[in-house]
Amino acid sequence: MAGSPSHSVDLSQAMIMAPSSPSDWLIISPIIITILAGAIMVMLRSKPNIHAYLATIAMAMVVTCELLLLQNVLEQGPQSMTMGRWMPPFGISFTVDAMGALLAAVSGIVALAVCIYSSLDINYTGRRLGFYPFLMLLMTGVSGSFLTGDIFNLYVWFEVMLISSFGLIILGGERAQIDGALKYAILNLMATTLFLVATGLLYGVTGTLNMADIALKTTLLPPGAPMGTIGALYFLAFAMKAAAFPVNFWLPASYHTPRIVVSAVFAGLLTKVGVYALIRTLVMILPESREQLSEIMAIVAALTMLVGTLGALAQNDVRRILGYLVIAGIGSMLAGVAIGTGTAIMGSILYAVHSILVMTALYLSLGVLIRMSGGKYSLAELGGGYKASSLLSILFLVLVFAVSGLPPFSGFWPKFVLVEAALSEGHHWLTFAILISGLLTSIAMGRVWAHAFWRGGPIGTEDGRDAAPLNNLVGTVRARAFIPISVLTVFVVIMGVMPTPFFGMAQAGSYSLLRPQAYTQAVFGEVIKQKQEQHKIMNKEAESKNEVDKKEEGSHQ
C-alpha cells in the first residue's frame, strides 16, 4: 500500500498542509447553510408550518455570512478555498472576488425578503409540496454559482438551481403553469447543455477546469486554438439563460405562470446568474473571444432592450409587463459586456445589483395589489390602488422611477455609467438604445401606475365612484407584506442617493475581472507559498549537507 508507513510520503508536494482558516469557511458558508436547511426541511416534511421560520432563520444567517464575506473581499481582495486539501488546480476551488461577493450578498437579501413575504402567498398545500426546501436549494445553486472558482462546478450549480426552479415553477400544478414550465424547462436545459459543450471543448484545449488556471493558460495557447468557437458557445448558452433577444421567448411564456413570490425570485436572481456567468467567462477568462464577439453582443444588447420594452408596452397582464422588463434590463447589462471597458463592466455589475433589488420588489408589490384586488392581473381590470393603500402606491411609484432609470433612485447610476462608457468608446447607437429603452420603460410602467393605482377603478367605472373598494391587508399579513417591500425599496433609494459605496464595490469587481492577477494569486498564492517554503527547507538541507561535505573534505585533507 502506498499509504503504509514503510513509504515516507511528502504530502506537501500534492496537498495543502495548512488548515483552512475561519474566514475561508465563510466562502462556502452560504452553500452549507442553505443545503443543510433544505435537507432539514425535507426531513420535517410532516410539519410544513415551521418551514417558513426555518427558512427565514437560515437566510438571515446566509445574509450575515455573505455580508462578512463581502467585507473581507473588499478589505483583502479575492478569497479562495480549495476542497479536499488538494492543491489547485486539481482540487475544486471556491474563489470569490468583489463581483461574486456583492451579487451573492444582494441575492441573499432578496431571498430573505422573499422568505418573509412568502407566508402570504404560499398556502398550506404549497408548503406541503415543498416550497421552502426548493427555495433553499435554489439559493444553494445561486450562491454556489456566484462563489465557485471552477467552471465545471459552475455547471453543477447551474443544474442545482435549474432543478429546484423546476420544483418551484410547477408548484400548484395549474394548467397555465404546466404549459409555462414545459417551455421553461426544455429551453433552459438546452442552454445548460450548451454550457457543458463549451466547457468540454475548453477542457480539451486548456486541460484544466479551474477558472484562475484557465485565465492563465488562455494567454499561452497556440494560435490555432478554437477560442472563438468556445466563446461564442458560452455567449449563446448564457444569453439563453439570461433571456437575451433571439433566445428570450421562454421568459415571457413562463415567468407569469407560477405564484408571484416564485416569479419574484426568478426575475430577481436567475437571469442575473446567467449574466454573471457570461461576465465571468467572457470578460475574465476569455477576453479575446469577448473582443471578437463585441460587435454581435452590442447588436444583441440593443435588440434585447428594444424587444423587452416594446413587449412591455404591448402587454395587458401586469405580470407579463414585468417579465418583459426583466428582458430589457438584461439588454442593458449585455451592453456593458459588449463595450468591455472597466467603466462599462462596472456599469453592468451595478445594473445587476439594481435589477435584482428592483425586479423582486416590483413583483412583490404587484403581488400585494393583485391580492388586494382579489386575483385580477389584467391592466384593464385593475384600479383604485391608491385609495386602498397609499403606502403601496408610493413604494410602487419609487420602483417605477427606479426601473425606468430616473434619479434619484437606483436605476439612474448604472444607466449613467453605461451611457458614459458607450459614448467614450464611440458606440453611439448603443447609447441611443439604452436611452430609448429607459423612455419606453417609463411609459410602460407609468401606465401601470396610472391605471392600477392612480385611477379610481377599473375601465367602465366613472373614476372610481361605483368601483368596489379593494380589500386592504390588515394586521400581521400587512406587516409581512410591507416589511420586505419597504426594505427593498429603501435599498433602492439608498443606492440612488448614496451611490459611492456601490460604485466602489462594482469598481473593485470590474478591476479584478479585467486584471485577474489578484484572482489567480488568491487561488495559487497558498500553493506558491507552500512550494517556496519547501524550497527553503530543501535549500537549507542542501546547505547543511554542503557544510558537512566541506567539513568531511577538510578532515580528509
Partner: protein, 125 residues
C-alpha cells in the same frame, strides 16, 4: 480514433438539433436525450483517448509508471450522466402531464399561458 469520435459527436449533435426543431414534445425530448449523450462523448474525446492503460498506480510505486488514460473526463461524464438522466426523467413526466392537462403534444397548440387573442392594454390616460 479522436477524429472518428469527433465525427460521431457531430452526427449526434446533428440528429439532436434536427429532432429538437420539431413541434412535438416527444421528439424534442428524444433530441435532448441524444444531445446529452453527444456531450458526454465530446467530453470523453476532448480528454484525449488512451487505450488499455487504466489510471491505476501499481503496488509499491508512488506515481503511474506509463502514460495512462485520463480519469478526469470520466468523473465529469459521470456527473453529467446523472444530471441529464434525472432531468430527462423529470421532463418526461412533465411532458406526459402536459399531454394529460392540455390534450396535445404539439407546442404550437399549447397556448394556455400565452392565449392567442389576448386583449390589448387600455389606451386611456
Amino acid at each position: 480514433m479522436e477524429t472518428l469520435l469527433a465525427l460521431l459527436v457531430g452526427v449526434y449533435f446533428g440528429v439532436s438539433v434536427y429532432l429538437m426543431m420539431s413541434r412535438y414534445i416527444i421528439r424534442i425530448l428524444i433530441g435532448v436525450a441524444v444531445l446529452g449523450n453527444g456531450v458526454n462523448l465530446l467530453i470523453f474525446t476532448s480528454g484525449r483517448l488512451t487505450r488499455e492503460t487504466p489510471p491505476i498506480i501499481p503496488e509499491g510505486s508512488m506515481v503511474p509508471e506509463v502514460v495512462t488514460a485520463n480519469p478526469l473526463p470520466q468523473a465529469l461524464i459521470l456527473t453529467a450522466i446523472v444530471i441529464s438522466f434525472s432531468f430527462l426523467a423529470f421532463l418526461l413526466v412533465l411532458a406526459f402531464r402536459t399531454y394529460q392537462e392540455l390534450g396535445t403534444d404539439d407546442t404550437v397548440k399549447m397556448r394556455v399561458a400565452e392565449p392567442e387573442n389576448e386583449a390589448f392594454p387600455p389606451v386611456s390616460y
